[in-house]
């Protein structure tokens, strides 16, 4: 078989079962694709020896029969996941050289199922960013270009390396994490599928924390079926994460029937924003028609507090970040600044954090510090948490009225050029998450499905939002949308 790295998880699984290929051959094909893709800067720590060892073990297991679906599947792992003995630095200089002595629960689940790790993937520093431009490793680059224009485009963020690697077929799939849209926005920018499950589905243990009440891991894959397969393996109840949910994980793939007859799809009127490109509006309309043609009932709904999601997010996420990132103090791990004569512990903290954190991370930590400080806690932090409760209630009301899933655009634009937002104020960059951030605030599952291309030839995604804990139903609706949209475009190889 040629071009093994271009296979989906499902196709590779079936080929492995039939003996048409081996995990070693799949892994070798991916390693060679990675070697030739330095220009994308997607993989930032390669683990070829570990990958080949894991592949050989997977082949033995497949030979013995009864191997799980993910056995022998070569993956890229976002740098936010702690992987034992392998650099895990959240794309930050403050964790330079950090090699965890433990494995995150999500990667452990994947390895227990026989998955292969090719290496660690680029991302925004501490997952704070929407363009992968805050990374200590430099920008990851989108394999897609605007036709013949060779301007380097962002793969989105924060899971930019994951998105770039999957879109460019450097791996069969990748892990991502999503705090405000960090799986779904890069998936949309690169023409791949990405799902953020319900908060509590995937253990956060061993995932470097950004905003603990919002962070969730999820798969970034070539299609919806692969998302279903990989998500099932990533999910588990974990006593090490106190917010992990102790409920059974269904066989998501078995729920992909493509039958959505009688389902009610809500179209939130507040997601129709001024200044959104006509192409995105047209795609949204097309998506509605596709779901209606498939037998769903499409209804207009209202989520009245949508407008306040981003401002609430930019209080809550920095507040939690300022607390979580207090641990980077130069004492237990990571970078410690060189001290001058007479410097005490306070100077050590201040210099270490100034040197180790990039600009965006410093800014968010300080904004978080401010909104939590005495005198402002009620005015900002508590008010944002109240607004968050109202945002969740909007969704609860819609679901209570019989809505099964909500259809929205995934992003307000297609991928933009790296550096094009440099002079914009930070709020302009934050607007990238305008359609995705509500889902994190409400703890809901959300999936981005590639659904078309714009006039520049760049992919666009649609987002479906589901009821809590009903990822299977959501994936099935996404599957129906995927089939109707028939998106099969791939970036032309220039790297």
């Amino acid at each position: 078989m040629s071009d093994l790295n271009t296979l989906t998880i499902a196709a590779a699984r079936d080929a492995l079962r039939k003996g048409d290929t081996t995990a070693a051959a799949l892994t070798a094909a991916c390693l060679s694709a990675i070697e030739g893709a330095g220009a994308l800067n997607a993989f930032v720590h390669n683990t070829p020896d570990l990958a080949m060892q894991q592949a050989e073990a997977a082949d033995a297991r497949i030979q013995a029969g009864d191997a799980p679906d993910m056995c022998g599947i070569p993956l890229g792992i976002k740098d936010l996941f702690c992987t034992r003995g392998v650099p895990s630095q959240a794309a930050s200089n403050i964790l330079k050289g950090f090699k965890p002595e433990y494995e995150s629960t999500v990667t452990q689940n994947l390895f227990d199922a026989g998955a292969v790790m090719l290496g660690k993937l680029n991302m925004d520093e501490f997952a704070m960013g929407s363009s992968n431009e805050t990374s200590a490793y430099g920008n990851a680059v989108n394999p897609w270009r605007r036709g013949n224009d060779d301007t380097a485009l962002t793969p989105g963020g924060s899971s930019g390396g994951s998105a770039s690697a999957v879109a460019a077929d450097l791996c069969l799939a990748a892990t991502g994490t999503d705090t405000g849209g960090s799986i779904r926005q890069p998936a949309a920018f690169t023409g791949i599928t990405g799902i953020k499950p319900t908060y509590g589905r995937c253990s956060r243990w061993g995932v470097v924390a950004f905003a603990s009440s919002l962070d969730q891991a999820g798969p970034m894959t070539k299609d919806v079926r692969d998302a279903a397969i990989m998500l099932e393996t990533m999910c588990s109840y974990d006593a090490r994460d106190s917010t992990s949910m102790d409920i059974p994980v269904p066989n998501f793939e078995a729920m992909l029937t493509g039958d959505i007859k009688g389902k009610t799809i809500g179209i939130p009127r507040e997601y129709r924003l001024d200044g959104i490109p006509d192409e995105i509006d047209a795609l949204w309309t097309a998506g509605k028609e596709m779901l209606a043609d498939a037998g769903a009932k499409v209804v207009d709904i209202s989520l009245p507090h949508t407008k306040y999601a981003l401002p609430a997010y930019y209080v809550i996420a920095p507040a939690e970040a300022s607390s979580n990132l207090a641990r980077y103090d130069g004492v237990r791990y990571g970078h410690r600044a060189r001290l001058s004569h007479g410097d005490g512990i306070t100077e050590m903290y201040e210099k270490t954090r100034a040197e180790g954190f990039g600009h965006e991370v410093q800014r968010r930590v300080m904004v978080g510090t401010y909104v939590l400080s005495a005198g402002f806690y009620d005015a900002y932090y508590n008010r944002a948490r109240k607004v968050r409760a109202l945002i969740k209630k909007d969704f609860d009301d819609a679901f209570a009225a019989g809505v099964d899933a909500i259809l929205t655009p995934a992003t307000p634009s297609s991928a933009f050029g790296l550096g094009e937002m440099t002079d914009a104020d930070p709020v302009q960059m934050y607007l990238n998450d305008v359609f995705t951030v509500t889902v994190n605030l409400a703890g809901l599952p959300g999936i981005s499905v590639p659904a078309g291309v714009d006039a520049k030839g760049l992919p666009l995604g649609l987002q479906l939002i589901g009821r809590p804990w009903e990822e299977g139903d959501l994936l099935n609706t996404a599957y129906a949308l995927e089939q109707a949209a028939g998106f099969v475009s791939k970036p032309s190889k220039w790297w």
């Binding site: 319900t198 981003l310 410690r336 954190f357 703890g443």
Partner: protein, 95 residues
């Protein structure tokens, strides 16, 4: 509400991040942009709304208060910038 350079300096100090004096005006301006954006929250009527603590109503599980994964001093110290004699080493804390 407008943040001046003195407030920016105070926030940087609280966050334990060294910011050079010449950087403070730009930092204060960024704070003002972000806080201006956040001000929109004041339009929302939150009377009688409880602040959210958890998206899923759940009671945290209890566990026995016992050591489960102890006795791993070497692994815990393995990433320390400065570890000596089984301890993390830091500059003098008390004069």
């Amino acid at each position: 509400m407008s943040i001046d350079t003195a407030t920016a300096a105070r926030v940087a100090k609280l966050a334990r991040i060294k910011v050079e004096d010449d950087q403070l005006p730009a930092l204060a301006e960024e704070f003002n942009t972000i806080l201006g954006f956040i001000e929109q929250l004041n339009e929302v009527d939150v009377e009688g709304v409880e602040p959210m603590t958890s998206v899923t109503p759940q009671r945290l599980k209890r566990r026995e208060d016992v050591v489960t994964e102890g006795d791993q001093q070497a692994r815990i110290l393995s990433n320390a910038p400065d570890a000596r004699e089984g301890f993390f080493a830091v500059p003098k804390v008390v004069e």
